[in-house]
């Protein structure tokens, strides 16, 4: 089997990581509780990080873990918790007709195509220019740093600008409602803080129609402090 011909431990780790990654992915998609989805995402990230190490991209693995798992997913969790939206999402119902069926068909078709087309040509070696020799250990990072700050300098600068814009965007988006509406409707927030998953579709739209207007006017507060 092709797989086994490679060094034994590598294939084992690959298989494990593959299982972890795929499992996590499915977990994200299938779990009806967003928190559980987030945790599965973390699992996938760890799996991928290990694969990075496998592929001798150690720095990336570390970066992956710290930034991706550490920052982004935590941000997710933070928002989930903040908004208190950790309700069960009823997976059964699907308002858009045929959405699921077509989605699965399209997904599988996509997978089939990629693998089908790619199969023959994965190993083709066209002539290629190497920016820097990728090798494990310290030299890898040096090469990576050299590449980033020489060949990819422009993208590097652009990404910094991108980050600033993202931050400003986020602030602007959130602050739009502004301090104007500061009165707090105690009962609404009480009603929102549900302690466990409730069955039933109406649960999704937590507030019936007439209540909706009130909620819209309320400046959102969860617990005591107020999100500006």
């Amino acid at each position: 089997m092709m797989l086994l011909s490679a060094t034994y431990p590598d294939s084992i780790t690959f298989v494990l990581c593959a299982i972890v990654v795929v499992g996590g992915g499915l977990g994200v998609v299938l779990s009806n509780n967003p928190v559980r989805a987030a945790l599965n995402l973390v699992m996938t990230l760890f799996g991928v990080a290990v694969l990075f190490v496998e592929l001798s991209a150690d720095f990336l693995a570390v970066v992956q873990v710290i930034i991706y798992a550490g920052a982004i997913v935590v941000l997710f969790l933070f928002v989930i918790m903040l908004l208190g939206v950790d309700k069960q999402e009823k997976l059964g119902s699907e308002p858009l007709i045929l959405q699921r069926v077509i989605a699965i068909v399209v997904g599988l078709a996509f997978l089939g195509m990629i693998i089908g087309y790619g199969w023959g040509n994965f190993n083709s070696h066209g002539s290629y220019s190497v920016i820097g020799v990728a090798s494990g250990g310290d030299s890898g990072i040096v090469e990576l740093a050299k590449a980033t700050f020489s060949y990819y300098l422009l993208p590097f600068e652009v990404t910094s600008v991108l980050l600033i814009i993202a931050i400003i965007g986020a602030v602007v988006l959130i602050a739009r409602s502004g301090p104007g509406e500061d009165e707090v409707k105690e009962d609404i927030s009480a009603e929102i803080k549900t302690d466990g998953p409730k069955e039933g579709h109406e649960n999704d739209v937590s507030v019936s129609e007439d209540k909706v207007d009130e909620v819209r006017s309320v400046d959102f507060t969860v617990g005591e402090e107020q999100i500006v």
């Binding site: 998609v29 694969l51 399209v106 990819y152 739209v205």
Partner: protein, 101 residues
Amino acid sequence: MSVDLSYYLILAAVLFTIGLIGLLVRRNVLVMLMCVELMLNASNLTFVAFASKLKDVGGQADVFFVLVVAAAEVVVGLAIIVSIYRKRLGATADDLSSLKG
């Protein structure tokens, strides 16, 4: 090089498809965002797989940038989600149809 390149790519493809289907199927906006993260990871995996196969650090540098973009995207995504939720708790993707033609 550990396992052959094609397996990595297959794995990445599978992961990408899972993310894609998740994006299309799930109605909770947060989970959709996570699925996008999955798809991004799949592409990172491909980058790194090729980087190691071709002994070219360029692949890894790209991952680096993908990460940045992912971060920015999540920030903005979550900001949008927060502003959505501010309007109505538990809104799902389908309620956001103001763009109706």
